[in-house]
Symmetry: C2
Subunit: 188 residues, 2 copies
DNA sequence: GTCTATACCCCGATAGAC
DNA sequence: GTCTATCGGGGTATAGAC
C-alpha cells in the first residue's frame, strides 16, 4: 500500500475524470467550471491543467474508450455485405455497446450533444461517426423514409435511456426494450 | 411609415430576438455571448439588458409562443377519453405543431436540451410538459415497452428534424416521413 | 513529476450618466 | 433607450515551489 499522504499522478487524473463525469452529467459541460472540479478534489484549478491540457481534453479523455468501441463497430460494418442481416447485427452490437459501456456515459453524451458536436477526438467527431454508422445501415438509393428509419433506429437505443429514465425499470430492462423497438423500426 | 433614422423599442427587441435565435441555433446557447449579439446589432451589451432582464429571458421570450401551443395541446388531451384514437390525434397535432411553428425553433430546442431543461417559463418547464404529454398518450398500467413506445413516438417527430438534416429532403417531406414513423411506432 | 500563486482577458450583470 | 464603467467569476497560461 502506498502512503496515504501522497497521491500518484495516475490516481489524481482518475479522480478528476470521476468528478468531472459526475458534474458534466448532472449540470452539463458548459455549466460546470474548472474551479468546481478542483474544489471538490481539494486542489487548485492550475493542477487540473497539469493533468489535462484544457477543459475539452477532460471530456475527450472520458469519451475515448467509448469512441474506440464505436470506431471498431464502424470498421467491422464497412467490411460486411449490405443487407437486412447486417442491419440486425449492427443494431445488436450497437445496443450491446450501449449497455456494456455504461448507460451513464451515454446519458452524459446525450445531455451534452451540442458541446460534443464540436469535438473531434481522433477520427472525425461523433457527428461524422453517426453518419458512418448510418451509411453502413442504409442503401444509398433507399427512399427518404427508409433512410430516416435507419437513423431513428440507431438513435432509439440512446434516446430510450433518457426518455425512459422515470419509468421505474432497471437500465437493463430499458436497454432490452429499446433494442426490441429499434429492430421493429428496421422491420426486422 | 416611421422615419428610418429612429428605431422603436419594439423594433430593437424584435431584432435582438432574431439575431439571438440565429446564434443560439448555430453555436448553442452557452457558446453565444451577449457581446456577440450586441455587436451584430451595433449596440452595447448593456443595451440588451434594457430590453431583456437577462440572457435566459431572451430564450424564454423565443419559446413562449411555442410553449403556449404545447400547453394548449396538453390541456385538450387531458379532457379526452384515453385510447388509440386519442393517441393518433395527439401525434397528428404534435406533428402539425412542429411543422407549423417552424422547424427552426425545434432544431434550436433539440440542440439546447440541457439548457432548456433548467428553464421554467410559465407552467413548469418543458421536461414536465413532455411528461404530461406522455401521460396523455400512455395507460398508467401499460407494460414498460408500451410506455417507451409512446415516449419515442413523440420524440421521433423532433428527432427526425435533427437526424434527417443531411438527407436532402425539404422540411415538409421530412416532417411527413416522421409523422408516418411516429404513428407506426404506436401501431396506428 | 506534482502542484500553488498569480495574472490575463472574456463572460453575464449592474449602476449611473447622458 | 443607450452608453461607460465596473464587478465577480469563467477558462487559460505560465513561473516557480517542492
Amino acid at each position: 500500500m502506498a502512503g496515504a499522504g501522497r497521491r500518484s499522478g495516475q490516481d489524481t487524473k482518475a479522480r478528476i475524470q470521476e468528478v468531472a463525469l459526475d458534474l458534466f452529467t448532472e449540470r452539463g459541460y458548459e455549466a460546470t467550471s474548472m474551479r468546481e472540479i478542483a474544489e471538490r478534489l481539494g486542489i487548485t484549478k492550475a493542477a487540473l491543467y497539469y493533468h489535462f491540457t484544457n477543459k475539452e481534453d477532460i471530456v475527450v479523455s472520458l469519451l475515448s474508450r467509448q469512441l474506440a468501441a464505436v470506431d471498431e463497430l464502424i470498421d467491422w460494418a464497412g467490411k460486411q455485405p449490405r443487407g437486412p442481416e447486417l442491419r440486425r447485427e449492427v443494431i445488436e452490437r450497437w445496443s450491446a455497446l450501449t449497455a456494456r459501456q455504461g448507460v451513464r456515459m451515454f446519458r452524459f453524451a446525450m445531455a451534452n450533444q451540442h458541446t460534443l458536436r464540436e469535438l473531434k477526438p481522433g477520427r472525425e467527431g461523433m457527428f461524422q461517426r453517426f453518419q458512418l454508422l448510418f451509411d453502413a445501415v442504409t442503401d444509398p438509393d433507399a427512399p427518404l423514409e427508409e433512410k430516416l428509419r435507419a437513423r431513428l433506429a440507431l438513435l432509439t437505443v440512446q434516446m430510450s435511456m433518457i426518455a425512459g429514465r422515470d419509468l421505474d425499470a432497471t437500465d437493463e430492462e430499458l436497454a432490452e426494450a429499446a433494442r426490441k423497438l429499434s429492430l421493429e423500426l428496421l422491420r426486422l
